[in-house]
Amino acid sequence: MSQANRLAGGLIDRSRGISFSFDNKRYTGFAGDTLASALLANGERLMGRSFKYHRPRGPLTAGSDEPNALVELRQGAFREPNTRATVTELFEGLSATSQNRWPSLAFDALGINDLLSPFFSAGFYYKTFMWPKAFWEKVYEPLIRRAAGLGRLSMAPDPDVYDKGFLHCDLLVIGAGPTGLAAALTAARAGARVILADEDYEIGGRLNSETFVVGDTSGTDWARNHARVELLSMPNVRLMTRTTIIGTFDHGIYGALERVSDHLAHRAHGKPRQIFWRIYSKRAVLCAGAAERPIAFANNDRPGIMLAGALRSYVNRWAAAPARKVAVFTNNDDGLRTAADLVAKGVEVSAVIDTRADGAKVADADHFRGAQVIDTKGRLGLTSITVRLSTGETRTIACEALGVSGGWNPNVHLTCHQRGRPNWEPSIAAFVPGNCPPGMTVAGAARGVFSTAAALTSGAAAAREALAAIGIKALPADTPKAEDQPIRIEPLWHVGSAKGRAWVDLQNDVTVKDVKLAHQEGFRSVEHLKRYTTLGMATDQGKTSNMLGLVVMAEISGRSIPATGTTIYRPPYTPVPIAALAGRSCGRDFRPTRLTPSHKWASEQGAVFVEVGMWLRAQWLPRPGEIHWRQSVDREVLTTRSSVGICDVTTLGKIDVQGKDAAEFLNRIYANPFGKLAVGKVRYGLMLREDGMAMDDGTSARLAEDHFVTTTTTANAVAVFRHMEFCRQCLWPDLDVQIISTTEAWAQFSVAGPNARRLLQKIVDPQHDISNEAFPYMACGEISVCGGLRARLFRISFSGELAYEIAVPTRYGDALIRALVDAGKEFGAVVYGTEALGVMRIEKGHAAGNELNGTTTALNLGMGGMVSKKKDGIGSTLSEREGLNQPDALNLVGFRPLDVARPLTAGSHLISGRERAEAANDQGYITSVAFSPSLCHSVGLGFLKNGAARKGEVLRAVNPLKNEEVEVEVVSPHFVDPEGERLRA
């Protein structure tokens, strides 16, 4: 079949033929076609199967409100389900597949659902599948899920890339129909920054579907060759076609999805398929037009039955007749335009059925006034309609397409996104925008102004008014002359009929009867109606169906339409791929990483990295021959303890604290006092939350009377800085203290082990004496290294060994790690990773994140004595709460397995004697475990009730998840060097 239904004219480019396939059958169309228009031109009306009953369906609309013609587009990993054929631009090689059918579109085995429809009425899933209860999860739900749904996902990662972006404007004009063009021209001529966005690939809106004259030319020509050309000539205008404004958000922010290359056969490498824009507007004019609504009658869903305005679009814009013999069913004047345009295009109009007794006559067509369509025939496509004439007589009329017009609904959606409620306007029998989001005005058909002339003046006036509010003066617009016909409508929503289902929501298969059933069962509010019947809950958000559904409800309940009310809309206006919302933030680029100064060196060594927050830290550094991580970690620990080890500790937060009151500030931030810390000394500090729980720990080094460097744990660096900033600004604005993060500015390495000093003496310039006498434990100072580079040295230890932390400006960090490794060669020095760091701190009994878990106090941690009673600090008072100071409070203790061959498991709970392993007998829990290469067995830290007094006791460490039990002895948490002699050596 080669475009048998193609007419003359239209806005297609006949010089550019396009070949495409639908369900593996080859077709041709033209540039400018949509998939739907090209299929119609090829005589294909059947494009999909319905959601629930698998009814054969063809396009109802010619736009984004389409409920029926949903296809799977493209192939393989590029496949996208539920793509609307009505807005899919045709491109060379396009491949589409119908969905929700098996084995084929023409014969669908699940069409059986249609015969079983009495069982699938509204809310059927609330009433059926109730028993046996256990069947729901295992049997019914999987079955229903397989049968339901429309298209299939590719189940492969999306190979396309997506961008996100940000735009700014004085005026956002939503919709580039006559209203939007008039608004944009008015604003642009006034010099305002204008964004004009339209979901279509052509500007002009309805003008492209009509035969109207604007000024002294066709509407299309005016839009394309006058308005567009002028707008493009102005640098203050951004014209965005293929861009849907999908939502209205706070403060004049709009979301927009731009389909950059959906219409191209192939996307260039690295170029986005779509861009999700966030538009910051000072003002917005909604010129979204109106959408036609159907009239419900029995079997009104057959392929070939579509909205009259859509039929007109296909014929005028795309020169594609859905069929050669067409009828029109209308309750208003606009429907008659379709009949007239069809006649003008040479399509046979077999009948015009006007529900009104006094509608105008269309020449060259059988005209039935006061008549209604009451039924249709045709299994895979319309073959005839049955009409009840004004006399009561019925007549069957042959036709393969039927244009239906029940009137037009202003597209109020975006006005509702901040809970604006539309108002009923009886003169057009439709809802018009009510209270709009701040900064938004509505013009043209979107506010119920339907003639072209009125749309143009309305758009221009709205732009002027919007600009005036932000101090931009626009001249009165010189809008071109255009048709100014009133639309007369006599509302009719559905045709009563004894037999046959009259469809309301075609995407979710909701009928008039379903609405009645909902009412009968007590779901009478429109919100309940919606959820019970699923009316309007499909991806089309009920654009063609909501009105009809609520009117049927109003009729049944005997209430007026405004009293029945309407549901409102939320973003997005049309579906947005999740991938577009993610933009580039996916896969490896989901979040940024932070690299340590020694990263390059560690990579060269084949280090294994671990993510700590956003940091990539070396976890261990395997040497040749090591095949298990424990071999590497044990070596790193043992070498550090016996000679010297080096570790990159740059990731710990460093906060520079300065000011006359810096010491007092730290006094208040920490539980322990800092006021008397001498210059050149470091002190360990414990930070409590206001409720007395431990928040973070670290050290503060006093570099000068009014200058400290405070460190935090890696994980809490940002949180602690934020906390300190809050305290500084809000709690104690009277303190002279300034803080700023310097975490990244300094590359800092720990050098630990008995040979640490000897190694550093090769690095630190000789004028700085770092002997134990001159630079004792907890000393700090500004020094120079490697021949004069300024550096900082802190004598602090996390491992329990003689240890220093040395810091240089980060750009020298790579050089310093290499210099340290080089200097360490004579000592057999190792570089150790976070795993060895963890082992050593557990061996030493130092609390870390597992112990500072948000539920532990200083007392629990064995640091109760640090909470100063002589000064006030955050958390001091509430840490004295009675409940936190019971004799059986948890204490941090160490554990060793009685059977040294058995490993301990973190998270195990502690149970005494032969008591049952249950919550009532819980004595505490193990927080951290490691294999101690120093002791050659597993060691653990944990919290035990009154643990400090229970050394030597044997308990069961129970892990019910793995059904494990290990007998453990309670010991001091300090497994290595409990007296701290090494670190003071």
């Binding site: 932070r594 520079d656 210099a819």
Partner: protein
């Protein structure tokens, strides 16, 4: 500065700054600027303002602004807070130099290596920034600066020449991620 034997690396890990020439957009790692943060001490704002004007030769800029006179450029970063740039070659120890110049009226902290600086620019600059951050770079005058977020990374964008030349300061440890985002955006726009 005394000679020492440690080599320096750039935020991207190279020995020389990396330059990417993309269509209409150039991304150049810049390691030639030393950076210090300055915060005026409590209740000494007037004293600080006078000291700063005396030392730098210009008044500290207000919110969103940049001011400068060779060799210093000051960027407003918060209430009573600024960053000051100076050539690294002559001012490697910028914090000490500035602190000596300002005395007790200000707290000064070295920030040079806390940040990676990318000088970016070219005719495509505004279009590239549209894909990166919420700043309205079209409207930024040539002496403006603002904090913003680029691909989840907190940055400072400094406009050197309206719509054409910008500097982006981002945390040094995330330089590779930031650079990746800049290149991806520039390729996307090109």
């Amino acid at each position: 500065m005394p000679e020492h034997r440690l080599h320096s690396t750039t935020p991207l890990g190279g020995t020389t700054p990396r330059v990417d020439e993309l269509p209409g957009f150039r991304i150049a790692e810049n390691v030639g600027a030393a950076l210090a943060s300055i915060a005026s001490r409590l209740n000494r704002e007037a004293e600080f303002a006078a000291a700063a004007k005396r030392f730098f030769g210009f008044e500290m800029p207000g919110p969103g602004k940049v001011a400068g006179k060779t060799p210093y450029t000051a960027i407003w970063t918060g209430v009573d807070q600024w960053f000051v740039e100076a050539p690294f070659a002559s001012h490697e120890n910028v914090a000490r130099i500035v602190k000596n110049g300002l005395g007790d009226s200000a707290s000064v902290t070295e920030q040079t290596d806390g940040w990676a600086r990318f000088d970016v620019g070219g005719p495509a600059a505004p279009a590239v920034f549209e894909r990166l951050c919420a700043l309205d770079v079209y409207a930024m005058p040539g002496s403006a600066a603002s904090r913003t977020t680029i691909e989840h990374i907190g940055c400072i964008v400094i406009c050197r020449e309206a719509r054409l030349q910008f500097s982006i300061l981002g945390p040094r440890s995330s330089a590779a991620s930031l650079h990746h985002a800049l290149v991806a955006a520039a390729r996307s726009v090109a």
